[in-house]
């Protein structure tokens, strides 16, 4: 991506974030039962969606890397995994912040938070495999295998945790959304998606540059 396009994109992301913040804090009315803290919902849910998108990207990129052995897929998998962990962390932090005033406790072992915690752990393990690999020739392959297994496990995690916590269903399943709330949520979805893509693009470029540097170093040391 050229520098000019990149900067335009950054500006777009910035504006969309402003719009989202404006919508959340200025436009949408306060929710009746939960009060002010409910506004976190507009960040919590898009963050969760972004995390899932990231995990899916890791899955596809991992398969593609194993098929083609091209480094660009490995860079994509790594960048997406980091973002998945980041957005997962946002979910795990905003969840308790929201929960405390509503349920009285920061944490309850209820299905969605528990599942997200398990997912989070899987992808943290993915990042650890990256750090503790001995030879970075094998590491992308091992990480790709893990990236595939982790995503396949996602439905199993959700199904089993939901079975287990059937009686503990505290998490709001469906919030009836009035139009202003719907629009705010959509704006936040868009803002988060753009933010996600922005971070992904920047991270990819960083990784690409790092790889190019390594290649250069090798060529120099070969002679």
């Amino acid at each position: 991506m050229s520098a000019r396009l990149s900067n335009l994109f950054a500006a777009l992301v910035f504006l969309s974030m402003i719009a989202a913040l404006g919508a959340v804090f200025l436009y949408v009315p306060t929710e009746r039962t939960m009060g002010l803290v409910q506004r976190i919902f507009y960040f919590h849910v898009p963050a969760a969606i972004s995390a899932f998108l990231a995990f899916f990207i890791v899955f596809v990129a991992s398969i593609q890397y194993l098929r083609t052995q091209e480094m660009k897929w490995d860079r994509l998998a790594l960048s997406a995994a980091e973002l998945g962990v980041l957005f997962g962390l946002i979910v795990l932090i905003t969840g308790p912040i929201w929960a405390r005033p509503i349920w009285g406790v920061y944490w309850r072992w209820e299905p969605r938070l528990t599942s997200m915690l398990i997912l989070f752990s899987m992808y943290v393990a993915y990042l650890m495999v990256r750090s503790y690999g001995t030879s970075s020739a094998r590491t992308p392959r091992l990480a790709s295998v893990l990236g595939i297994l982790a995503f396949v496990n996602v439905p199993l995690v959700y199904y089993s945790v939901n079975l287990w916590a059937a009686e503990q269903q505290l998490h709001p399943q469906k919030i009836a959304l009035e139009p202003p709330m719907k629009y705010t949520l959509y704006i936040c979805y868009a803002a988060f998606l753009l933010f996600f893509l922005f971070l992904l693009q920047r991270r990819l470029e960083l990784e690409k540059t790092a790889d190019a540097l390594t290649d250069l170093q090798q060529q120099l040391s070969d002679d």
Binding site: L66, I118, A125, V129, G133, T134, A150, S160, L163
Partner: protein, 225 residues
């Protein structure tokens, strides 16, 4: 068919080696007993609370013990470069996975069967009428652990901090199976009907089938240099 004969060859070799040295089974069994001891002092087991947390204690002990056994299944091949011997052989390398996985499964089952009497002794549980379903759960649970565990053991055997990495990889991945085993065991001990246990059995079966298949397909990528 040579796939199966090579799988069997590897399984037989591992069982024979274990029979000679008893290096894996004894520590695993002792580890389970010690874990039960630790849990006893941590939770003051005994009385009504036991039925609630008994299954959890049992399966936690098994999972932790499995970490010991799983690690050994590939680390032992590093001595004398024996893993090269396995890689040199003709044929699909997934046979190595299958042989090792079955070995791990059998070791886990053995540990569980040996520990069960102690468990019932320490905690005054009587699984008598439920022995068969319980053994079925042991089989499914061990297969779940062995399926992904063997793949991860192969993965981590070549990495730094392999003893640390294996639990970090295995524990999150195996959660659906662990949850199902614990819940199903609790239901079995309560004498609940099959209908309630069925969903957990479904999860376990799906877990074993899916992850064994994936591991077979992906093993080549993990094991070669």
């Amino acid at each position: 068919m040579s796939f199966f004969s090579r799988t069997l060859a590897i399984l037989r070799k591992d069982l024979l080696a274990e029979w000679r040295t008893k290096e894996r089974l004894s520590p695993m069994v002792f580890f389970v007993l010690l874990t039960l001891l630790v849990f006893n002092f941590s939770f003051e087991l005994g009385g009504a609370a036991l039925h609630e947390i008994g299954p959890g204690v049992l399966w936690s002990a098994f999972v932790f013990a499995s970490l010991l056994g799983l690690n050994r299944s590939f680390v032992d091949e590093r001595e004398n470069g024996c893993l090269d011997g396995l890689l040199l052989a003709p044929g699909d390398r997934s046979a190595v996975y299958m042989g090792k996985m079955l070995g791990n499964l059998l070791f886990l089952l053995a540990v569980e069967l040996i520990s069960l009497p102690f468990f019932t002794l320490f905690f005054n549980l009587s699984p008598g009428p439920f022995l068969l379903p319980l053994l079925g759960l042991f089989l499914l649970g061990s297969a779940s652990l062995a399926s992904v565990g063997t793949l991860f053991a192969a993965m981590s055997s070549n990495m730094r901090l392999r003893e640390l990495l294996l639990p970090l990889l295995l524990l999150p991945m195996v959660m659906p199976a662990l949850i199902s085993c614990v819940e199903a065991t609790a239901l079995v001990l309560k004498g609940d009907e099959l209908a309630r246990i069925a969903p957990y059995l479904q999860i376990l079966t799906v877990f074993v089938v899916v992850f064994t298949t994936l591991s077979l397909l992906l093993f080549e990528h993990v094991i070669e240099e």
